[in-house]
Symmetry: C2
Subunit: 327 residues, 2 copies
C-alpha cells in the first residue's frame, strides 16, 4: 500500500481523499493542517490529523505527501520546503511562474533524494500533455485551448469584491463558432473575445445600484474587459439552487497538415466535461502520486512535471497487463 | 541531426519520408527494399536505396531504422532481426500478438544494446495512451473505443476477394446514438452491432450477380456478419472520384464517477479526424523515432511501447522550453 499524507484540507484535499478510496493500492494515513487539528474532521476512518508544525515527526507514515494549498502564496513556499523530506505532488497552476517554482522544488528534492511532481491536474496537467503530444505528431499545425463551460473561482471572487455584491458565480463559455472554425483545420487567428464569453450570476444587496455593478463587472481590467460578458442578477435562493456546483472542462485541439504537398489535414481533439473541477484535479494528482512513489523506489529524484513521467507509472496495472489489455 | 533509415517503401514509409521533412532535427539517409533497388524511386534528394540484404553494411548511416512492413508476416520476423543492430520503431498492430512480439523484440534489442519501440501509431498508439491515462485517472469508470468514419483496408480487401468484384472500399462508421449514450456517462453495455455500421462501395464485373455478392458480403464471418452493413454498387469512375482517399479516425471515451457518494460524473473524450490514415500513423512513428534515439543515447535499451516513453522525449523542444511554453 502506498501511504498518502495530505498537506492542507480544502477542496483538493477532500477530492484526493475520495480518489484514494477508488485506488486499491493506496491509503490515506495522515492529514496536516495549519488550523487547530482538533477542529478538522476527515472522512476516512482511522486517519490522524496533526498540525503542520509536527510533520517531520511523521515521516515514516508517508510515502507521498500531496500538497493541497493554493498557488498564490501556499505552494511556492510549502512545496520546496516539503520536497526535501517527502515525495510530493502539487497542482501549482500559475503558468507563468512554473519555471521558477520548478527550479526551487528541484533543488530541495535533489537535496533530500525525493521525487516531486509539480503542476499536476488538467490545466496544467492533462491539457499540457495533449498540447505536447499534438505538437510532436503534427509539427506543421496549430493548437488551441478552450476552457469551459465552467466556473472560474478567480472571476467569481473578483465580482464578490465589488461594493454591493453579496455573492456571485462566473461561467467561462467557449464560443461554438470558434470551436467549429478550429475543427475545420483552417488554423484561424482568434482573439480573446472570439474564443470565450463570460456569464455572471450575481446576488446584490437590497437597493444596490445594479447598473453601476454591471458596469464595474464588464469593464474590469484583466478579468472581463476583453470579453463579451453578460450579467444576470438573481436571488440568493436561485444561486444556491442552480449554481452551487463547480463544473468545468474544456478542449485542446491540434490541427495540422501532412503529405508531400501538405494536402492532408488532421484534427486531434481532447475534451473534458467535469461535474467537479477539484475532484477531477484530485484524481489526476492521485495517479501521479503513484508515479512519484514508484520513481523514487527506482532511485529517481528531483522535480518532474507530467512531461517527464512515462504513462505506465500512473496505472495500478503491471506492464504486462497494460500491454495485453490496453495497447 | 537524427539519421533515419526506412525498411520497406510502401504507404507508411512514404508517410515517414514526408513527416521527416517537417522535423528540423531529422533527415532520411537510406531506404532498404526487398525489390530491385534500381526500381525504387524515393522523393527525397540524395537518399540511397539499397537491398535489405545489404543493410548491415550501412549501420553508420542510421540512428533509427523505421520498420515499414505489414503486421501479418513482415514485422514479426523483421523487427526482432533488426532490433539487434539498430534502434527501431514499428507499427505492429495485431493487438492479440503484441505480448509475443514484445518479448521477441525485447530479447534482441537487449542483446544488441538498442532501443526498440513497437506498436506505434494511433491504435495501437495514441488511443492506447488515452485508454491508459483515462483508466488511471478515473478508476471507477468504463472506456469505449470507436473507429471511423474511415476506410478499413482489411474489409475492403475481403470484399475484393469475392467472385465478380473488381474493386471495393469499406467504411467503418461509429453509430451516433451509441456515442451519445457513452458521452452521457451512463456506461452502457454496447454490442458490436450497436457501436459501428459498415458501408461498402463495390465495383462489379458486367453481368455479375449483385444479389449474390451483396449476400456474400453482409454474411461474411468475422468481417460483416455481426454488423449492419449497407452495400452500394457503383462504377469504377465513381469509386476513383469519390473514394480514392484513405481517411480514418475515431474516439476514445472514458467516463467515470468521483466523490464520496460517486455523485460527480466526468467525461474524457479524445478524437481523431484524419485525411490520411498512413500519413498520420507515420507522423506518430517519427515522433517516437526521436524518442528511441534519445533513450538509446541515454544508455537505455530493450523493447518499449508508448506506455514506457515519457512524453518529453517526443518533442524537438528542450525540457525548459516545454515547461515554459506548453505546461
Amino acid at each position: 500500500m502506498i501511504k498518502i499524507g495530505l498537506y492542507g484540507y480544502g477542496n483538493i484535499a477532500k477530492g484526493v481523499e475520495c480518489a484514494i478510496m477508488q485506488n486499491e493500492d493506496m491509503c490515506l494515513t495522515s492529514v496536516f493542517t495549519r488550523r487547530d487539528p482538533s477542529t478538522v474532521k476527515v472522512m476516512t476512518e482511522g486517519v490522524s490529523v496533526y498540525h503542520t508544525d509536527d510533520i517531520l515527526n511523521h515521516k515514516d507514515e508517508i510515502d507521498v505527501l500531496v500538497m493541497c494549498g493554493g498557488s498564490a502564496t501556499d505552494l511556492p513556499e510549502q512545496t520546496p520546503k516539503m520536497a526535501e523530506h517527502f515525495n510530493v505532488v502539487d497542482s501549482f497552476d500559475t503558468h507563468k511562474r512554473i519555471p521558477e517554482h520548478f527550479s526551487n522544488v528541484d533543488e530541495k528534492a535533489k537535496k533530500g533524494n525525493k521525487v516531486a511532481i509539480i503542476s499536476v491536474g488538467w490545466d496544467p496537467g492533462m491539457f499540457s500533455l495533449l498540447r505536447l503530444y499534438g505538437g510532436a505528431i503534427l509539427p506543421e499545425g496549430a493548437d488551441y485551448t478552450f476552457w469551459g463551460k465552467g466556473v472560474s473561482q478567480g472571476h467569481s471572487d473578483a465580482i464578490r469584491r465589488i461594493d454591493g455584491v453579496i455573492d456571485a458565480r462566473q461561467y467561462t463559455i467557449p464560443v461554438d463558432s470558434a470551436l467549429e472554425a478550429v475543427r475545420s483545420g483552417s488554423q484561424p487567428q482568434l482573439t480573446t473575445r472570439q474564443k470565450h464569453t463570460r456569464e455572471c450570476f450575481v446576488v446584490v444587496e437590497e437597493g444596490a445600484d445594479k447598473e453601476r455593478i454591471e458596469r464595474e463587472i464588464v469593464t474590469m481590467k484583466n478579468y472581463f474587459d476583453e470579453y463579451d460578458t453578460t450579467v444576470n442578477f438573481i436571488s440568493m435562493e436561485e444561486l444556491q439552487k442552480n449554481h452551487s456546483g463547480i463544473p468545468h472542462g474544456g478542449f485542446v485541439i491540434r490541427t495540422g497538415k501532412t503529405g508531400k504537398n501538405k494536402e492532408n489535414n488532421h484534427v486531434i481533439e481532447y475534451s473534458l466535461k467535469l461535474d467537479s473541477n477539484p475532484e477531477f484535479t484530485s484524481s489526476v494528482i492521485v495517479a501521479y502520486a503513484r508515479a512519484a512513489y514508484r520513481l523514487n523506489k527506482e532511485g529517481d529524484n528531483g522535480c518532474k512535471t507530467v512531461f517527464d513521467i512515462a504513462p505506465k507509472y500512473l496505472s495500478v496495472k503491471s506492464n504486462e497487463e497494460l500491454r495485453a489489455s490496453l495497447l
